[in-house]
């Protein structure tokens, strides 16, 4: 198990080999790679600037790795996150998980990513054509809203309440006779 916050990420092939070598009982390797994308919140992003409290970030990543390893009975966990200026298409972070079976690896991967996004002192600033913007609020991606059994898309995660009102107004216009709403939010504690 290891974590790292730095200017570079390991090559995926090396992480794959490292995870495979962690035990002969490894039956699944699950890897997530974050990538800088062009479109974000309606803006045209040129690059992201990542900043971290490196000591604390590595400490927290280590705690996350230990937590998910124990919770899901994983064999090995590797977490790496980049800092500095990253252009569109560049990799931002890697989560690598070795497990006996795919199910626990896939579940652990999702929880690990959410924990990294919300609970580690790493910050990103978007440098876009429209200006520079710090990303201040990251919400869990497992928010699901069903209206009349159909999943509604949250357009603006920074203001979930207003998004919900807009969705309801739209549904009222199209099918006002009966509305059934189900909201589920997955948290990890």
């Amino acid at each position: 198990m290891r974590v790292r916050v730095g200017n570079e990420l390991s090559e995926i092939g090396k992480i794959l080999e490292e995870l495979k070598k962690s035990s002969e009982n490894v039956g699944a390797i699950t890897i997530f790679v974050g990538v800088v994308r062009r479109e974000s919140r309606g803006r045209n992003v040129n690059k992201l600037i990542y900043e971290a409290h490196k000591d604390l970030a590595e400490k927290f990543l280590g705690e996350i790795a230990s937590y998910v390893k124990n919770k899901y009975g994983l064999i090995d966990v590797i977490l790496e996150h980049r800092i500095g200026e990253l252009s569109v298409g560049e990799e931002t972070m890697i989560v690598g998980i070795a497990s006996k079976h795919r199910a626990e690896g896939i579940s652990a991967l999702e929880e690990t990513i959410e924990r990294i996004k919300m609970g580690v002192p790493i910050w990103k600033k978007e440098v876009a054509e429209e200006g520079e913007f710090w990303i201040k609020d990251e919400y869990p991606s497992r928010l699901q809203i069903l209206i009349n059994g159909k999943e509604a898309r949250i357009e603006n995660k920074e203001n979930i309440f207003n998004s919900l009102i807009n969705l309801l107004e739209g549904t009222l216009r199209t099918s006002p006779e009966k509305i059934r709403i189900r909201i589920s939010i997955t948290t990890y504690d």
């Binding site: 974050g34 990542y50 900043e51 971290a52 409290h53 000591d55 604390l56 970030a57 400490k59 996150h81 931002t92 972070m93 990513i113 990294i116 996004k117 919300m118 609970g119 580690v120 002192p121 790493i122 910050w123 990103k124 600033k125 710090w134 990303i135 201040k136 609020d137 990251e138």
Partner: protein, 93 residues
Amino acid sequence: MARVVVRFFAWLREEIGVSEIVLDGLGSLADLLSGIRKSLGSRSGAIFEDDGSLRNNVIIAINNRIVSSEGSFEKISLRDGDIIDIMPLGSGG
């Protein structure tokens, strides 16, 4: 009485306009926060609410250990050379 270094991160640093300050004559973490408010004046709004309480999206660490309970700030003593980090919640990934 302790002399400590206070470091600011990410957008807190940009809104405040300095990356670190040195404050001395301090006894507790509560003293330090009060000193920061005085030192930064109107710029301290990035860290504190109008009533002086810490904003709920701000984290404090002393020598790389997170301090979680605002109610106990008066009980947390500072020592010469302590490094206090004031930072926002993370947004990595």
